[in-house]
């Protein structure tokens, strides 16, 4: 166990920039935008709309409504962390078993008493747990700073930040939901993570192309065959991947109420999963038949990654 953690720490050292700096930059972006918004409202002409008016409007809302607005707003702010985190994990895994082959440092890593299984486990654990935790920490810090700035702005505009704002917020619920959704997504995304590690373990160069081209070519070919045939295949690879992605339990949109399917990244959510942000809906995915198939696929990919990793020093 200590060895596994030592290897995870190694991953952190190597990727400090993307694991720690990236979420802090997103947090900085939120803080700066908020400050600019407040300054803009008070110092410059913004159609006469000032923070005092905003505070007044806030005061007219029911406490329940204020709580809901805050909850959805905070949940919504997590989307940016989620999206950027996905990119960070994607590129991390793509290089995880590739970079040390390229610079030959694999010969050093293999001189240490850590099995290939443990090495791959450490990379997977990093992607599934360490990176989400780093982003979570940055998001919490961002929320706290925003709460302080918001309270000061409300206070300066004559409102009471405690009754208008702080007491109605439910940060632990937001953080809990986001954490749950990220961890659930770590499991949901295992087929993708396995695929990336597999590509990373064998690609002779440009792992990005090796990761993206085969599914792309397959989808196009399948679509083409479908087009030529009189009957249509129900699911082609492309639409399966798309469905899988949009069925992710990660919160990709903050939904108001329970209108059912919302909009994620500009694409309508489809499939038979309920996209309302609830723990039940996350678990619903993890205990689905799709998940079981996904885990089997992931296992095949990871087995392949291990096979290649063992032979990475052959020639």
């Amino acid at each position: 166990m200590n060895r596994l953690l030592a290897l995870v720490r190694r991953e952190f050292w190597e990727n400090k920039g993307s694991f720690r700096t990236t979420p802090l930059v997103i947090g900085g972006f939120f803080i700066v935008s908020m400050l600019m918004g407040i300054i803009n409202m008070n110092q410059f002409d913004s159609d006469g709309y000032t923070t005092s008016m905003a505070v007044e409007e806030l005061g007219k809302m029911s406490a329940e409504m204020r709580g809901e607005v805050l909850y959805q707003g905070m949940l919504g702010s997590s989307v940016m962390f989620t999206v950027v985190m996905s990119f960070v994990i994607f590129f991390y895994l793509l290089g995880a078993l590739y970079d040390d082959r390229k610079d030959r440092s694999i010969l050093f890593w293999k001189s240490l008493p850590a099995s290939d299984t443990m090495t791959i486990a450490s990379k997977l654990l990093t992607a599934m747990v360490l990176v989400p935790l780093m982003f979570l920490a940055a998001m919490i810090v961002t929320h706290l700073l925003m709460a302080i700035i918001g309270s000061i702005a409300i206070g300066m505009s004559g409102g009471n930040p405690w009754t208008l704002f702080i007491s109605e917020s439910n940060p632990f619920k937001v953080w809990g939901m986001v954490t749950a959704s990220w961890l659930a997504n770590s499991i949901w995304a295992l087929p993708l993570y396995g695929w990336l590690l597999l590509v990373s373990s064998f690609a002779p160069r440009v792992p990005l192309l090796f990761a993206t081209l085969p599914p792309l070519i397959f989808s196009v070919l399948q679509g083409w065959i479908e087009f030529l045939q009189t009957f249509t295949l129900k699911n082609n690879i492309g639409s399966m991947i798309k469905d899988w992605f949009f069925n992710s339990p990660a919160i990709l949109t903050a939904e108001m109420g329970d209108e059912g399917a919302g909009i994620a990244l500009g694409v309508p959510l489809s499939g038979h999963f309920d996209h309302a942000v609830t723990l039940g809906n996350m678990l619903d995915r993890l205990f689905s038949l799709q998940m079981l198939v996904g885990l089997a696929v992931a296992a095949v990919f990871l087995f392949g990654a291990h096979w290649f990793r063992r032979r990475a020093t052959e020639s």
Binding site: R9, D100, S105, K110, L112, A114
Partner: protein, 285 residues
Amino acid sequence: MTPIISARGLTKRFGRTLAVDHIDLDIPPGRIVGLIGPNGAGKTTALKAVLGLCTYEGELSVLGKNPSTQRASLMEDVCFIADVAVLPRWIRVHQLIDITENLHPGFKRERCMEYLAQTKVTPNQKVKQLSKGMVAQLHLALVMAIDAKLLVLDEPTLGLDIIYRKEFYTNLLNDYFDEQRTIVITTHQVEEVEHILTDLIFIQDGRIALEATMDQVQERYVELMVKPEKAIEARNLHPLYERELFGRHIFLYDNVSRDKLHDLGELHTPSVADLFVATMKGGVS
């Protein structure tokens, strides 16, 4: 004594070519073995098999373990330096020490720090900021702090200047080697290691061309330097190899009595380098 490395019919194929061709080998503990061969002879491939870094055919046992299936546990007792370029460039010195300490049960931090204190390497530096010589010192410091039973060095001083190379072998011999440990070295700089070796293995086209202790080498082989008029006589005694230097003929003999040769000219003990060239070109078995 049970051998540290024991191979029977060790073979490695790359497609149709045999990189290692049915090698039988026993290396006992407490030896410093020089594995010497021309480029592409299969030295590195054989060592990779020993270290569990490639698949192979035949039987191979290292410290009683099967390297292809038990690499991780084998590495607790085996260290290797492939060449100076393999330490990850992004890592800091103290991180490298931390992770080695966490993964290696036999790692002694104080020993590593002691050794590093004699160099210009500082804990906060990244490997990419170090010179090639300093990287070699760092790697050696890590390895010397591990209580390993077998140390494998594959061209450990490639690209280093003579000062670092000398220092590397001096440290290895003075601070590391003892009766319990075995060191296997491959290198092209034969002259630099020949005085520290206890055993010699020549490898050619994936096969062992010569396997002997240094004592045996000194007993068996003799170099004779003769004037041209005696050359024919010397040639009749079936030398392994003949070369000319400043008008003198130099012959290398295997197992020819020194009394017979004494009358013909000057006798020398051949250097490993000369023996190597003779073996490779003469095609001795």
